[in-house]
Amino acid sequence: MAGQVDALYLFLVLISTFFSLLIAILILYFAIKYRKSEGRQAQQIHGSTLLEIVWTVIPLGISMVIFVWGAALYFHLQRPPANALQVYGVAKQWMWKFEYSAGQREINSLHVPTGTPVRVTLISQDVIHSFFVPAFRIKTDVLPNRFMTTWFTATTPGTYHLFCSQYCGTKHSGMVGDVVVMTPKDYASWLESGKAEGSLASLGEKMFQQYGCTTCHRPDSGARGPNLEGVYGRPVRMQDNRVVIADDNYIRNHILNPGTEIVNGFQPIMPTFRGVINEEQMVQIIAYIKSLSEQTGQPLNNRSTPTDIRDTEVPNVQQQMQQDNQIQKSTGK
């Protein structure tokens, strides 16, 4: 990724150098060649529509190239691969906390292996922060009201800066850490050495029982709440017939604001857990709910959601894009 961003950067540096020099040289050349001197009269020229068109169209064309190039990189950056290693991060004034699926936790440092895409899902406990790793050319703001995601694939072992780049108060410049990139072998032994209290999902399961979630969210037919097995990452139908994907933000929102969206077929009886569950616990509960889907391992067309949903109703952006592309291709021919 860094290489691709650098390539665009280099292209822009070349374009900018060319135009800056062009303007600078023209100005200096005109200033010297046409400098005021005895008897010199300026030649009055009103303008040239042809020239205006030329210097409108050429910059427009160049900027469209830059636009498409930049947008393509951005798209790539916004679409983490499915097989990415998942790490959760919680930002707060003024530190970073990271939690791994196996339960290892660390503060102000993030250990990752080379060669594997790493997906970092981040949330803030207070103000807006920003997760910035200059060496990987990635950055995402970390918001206090929903999860943000970024991803990268590290290539070279080493220690890299992690900066908070969104001003977040007094010790903003102290909210820094290290991204430690290790070979897969070193990474595996690092994971082993981390004394985990238990995997994220197991911690989440404890909490799930502790807060009495199991009272309603049960797999049997008489349950008062939706069964959560196999829900994660799948479409769910709401009472107003909308279909939404049950992702991290969906689960978090339903725990904190249960009244805002009601799953079709259920009563709005769930209490809010706002102020009860903090962001680190939230990450654990989400990991647990996610693990319920991984265990059941059901294929996508055999869902345990309360209502059947036809594939056409599922908002699948990637599928739509593929279709669009096919249409474009066919019309292109």
Binding site: V5, I45, G47, P59, I66, L143, S165, S173
Partner: protein, 545 residues
């Protein structure tokens, strides 16, 4: 240097707006746009130097990575106050409220602005807002950054956010009044024969900026009121803990603050158009394209705000739209640069101080504009957003562009405003020193940004030190460049040679009246019979009826 002033001894006119009457009341209760312009000049110069002191302290602090000079929270206050002062109390009023106020009514051949009392009121409101800002500064400062991002500003910091927000709110009203006055004046008070196609480009530029002032400024007012309500009364708008959405603040803030960039730069572009034609002794190249590009910038400027938010959690598709539109707004700026350059082609170019500033402007604004293309490129912005690259970019536009244009304009119209010539040698020196100091200060920051140094860092990683030291060295040169004009311009008030009506042999109505102009600008209503900038034509552009 115009030979006329050396061969013919000029004398000051007997009666003009400066000696029409005397006393503090005649200034504080004046309805004369020229005197109000001078009131603004003193006020914003004061804030420029306050903001400059903050900037100097910031640069001194950043000499070492561990920031030995200030505690982190003091440093945070310094960059906040530097930004607030420079943007709301210097840059936004600079060209419109000082140069525009003085020269726009004369350029259209009017006796005054359409609403002289509202013009005076705008200065009082500005001072009222400035007082709030000063109170906020001396009673502990503000440490939110000039952008006041929520929920940090609404629920977490313990400094004078509300006081400062009120100061900005009132300063905003003063710019609405100025904009209103300009628009009505341009529509209703043009001299006979002065059609829209004959308006000086300075007028077009200020007209376009005025449109933004009256359409955009109310939004920042609403935003700051909501911020104050959330901070004071815990009404949840932006803070998620109160049920609000922090990104909403960014949308509202940038809906004004991005167009505000064009409030700042458009009038500067107008100044450059005047200066380049005058010192090339040539008609401006592509008049209608420059005029129209000002309007295009004002219109497109309203639909690019979310390019400040590419990593703030907006959707991929809206990011694409805003990126595309940002490139659209870059084109009219490029058109202007090409036209100014072409204006010099086959001219008779001379290098008086205003022209040096204008040439500096074109060069620096070009770099500032081109680096904007970097930031509008989505995938690249992810890396350089909120780094020193952004800091360098907007200083190239705002200081390299706008401040150079402002200083160029001040030098250009100084003889008209005061009736006195400033000494040319130190003025040229100041222009060159400013150009060199500016580049040394801000060019290294582009590199720092790409290396990954985030902005607003009181302490930074040691590998960034070399470039920071360079930048600080440049800043000390830049400070000299800014201090010099304050000295010799003040000196010229007493010791300067009388300027004569038209020391630059320039075209335009403002050069047809005496320097300084009489209180009502013209002794008789001017009638315009020719195109603007009709350099080279021997017949007089203006006949007096």
């Amino acid at each position: 240097m115009s030979t006329a002033t050396q061969t013919v001894t000029q004398v000051m006119p007997e009666k003009h707006y400066l000696n029409d009457n005397y006393g503090i009341r005649s200034w504080l209760l004046t309805k004369d746009h020229k005197r109000i312009a001078l009131l603004y000049l003193f006020s914003i110069t004061f804030f420029f130097f306050i903001g400059g002191i903050f900037a100097s302290l910031i640069r001194l602090h950043l000499l070492t990575p561990n920031g030995e000079l200030f505690q982190a929270d003091s440093y945070n206050k310094l960059f906040t106050l530097h930004g607030v002062n420079m943007i709301f109390f210097f840059l936004i009023p600079s060209v419109p409220a000082v140069l525009g106020n003085f020269i726009l009514p004369i350029m259209v051949g009017a006796k005054d602005l359409a609403f002289p009392k509202i013009n005076l009121l705008s200065w009082y409101i500005f001072i009222f807002g400035a007082t709030f800002s000063l109170i906020a500064m001396v009673s502990g400062g503000v440490d939110t950054g000039w952008t006041f991002y929520t929920p940090l500003s609404s629920g977490y910091v313990h400094t004078n956010v509300v006081t400062m927000a009120l100061g900005i709110l009132f300063a905003g009203f003063s710019s609405i009044f100025t904009g209103l006055n300009f628009i009505v004046t341009v529509h209703r008070m043009r001299a006979p024969g002065l059609t829209w196609g004959r308006l000086p480009l300075m007028v077009w530029a200020n007209y376009a900026a005025s449109l933004i002032m009256i359409l955009g400024t109310p939004v920042i007012a609403i935003t700051l009121i909501l911020l104050a309500l959330e901070r004071g009364f815990h009404i949840g708008v932006f803070d998620p803990k109160l049920g609000g959405d922090p990104v909403l603040f960014q949308h509202m803030f940038w809906f004004y603050s991005h167009p505000a960039v064009y409030i700042m730069i458009l009038p500067g572009m107008g100044v450059i158009s005047e200066i380049v034609t005058c010192f090339s002794r040539k008609r401006v190249f592509g008049y209608s394209f420059i005029a129209f590009s000002s309007i295009a910038i004002a219109v497109f400027g309203f639909v690019v705000w979310a390019h400040h938010m590419f990593v703030a959690g907006i959707s991929v598709y809206s990011a694409m739209v805003f990126s595309l539109l940002s490139y659209a707004v870059a084109i009219p700026s490029a058109v202007k640069v090409f036209n100014w350059t072409a204006t010099m082609y086959k001219g008779a170019v001379s290098f008086e101080t205003p022209m040096l500033y204008a040439m500096g402007f074109i060069g620096l604004f070009t770099i500032g504009g081109l680096t904007g293309l970097f930031l509008a490129a989505l995938g690249l912005d992810v890396h350089i957003h909120d780094t020193y690259f952004v800091v360098a970019h907007f200083h190239y536009v705002m200081v390299g562009g706008m401040v150079m244009a402002y200083l160029g304009g001040v030098h250009f119209w100084w003889p008209k405003m005061t009736g006195k010539l400033y000494p040319e040698a130190p003025a040229k020196l100041a222009a060159i020193v400013t150009f060199i100091g500016f580049n040394l200060t801000f060019f290294p920051q582009f590199i720092l940004g790409y290396m990954g140094m985030p902005r607003r860092y009181a302490i930074y990683a040691p590998e960034f030190q070399v470039l920071n030291v360079l930048s600080t060295a440049g800043a000390s040169i830049l400070a000299v460049g800014f201090l010099l004009p304050a000295l010799y311009l003040t000196w010229s008030l007493k010791f300067g040679q009388p300027a004569g009506d038209n020391p630059w042999e320039a075209k335009g109505l403002e050069w047809e009246t005496s320097s300084p102009p009489p209180t009502h600008n013209f002794h008789r209503t001017p009638v315009v019979t020719a195109e603007p900038y009709n350099y080279g034509s021997e017949e007089e552009a203006v006949v007096v009826s």
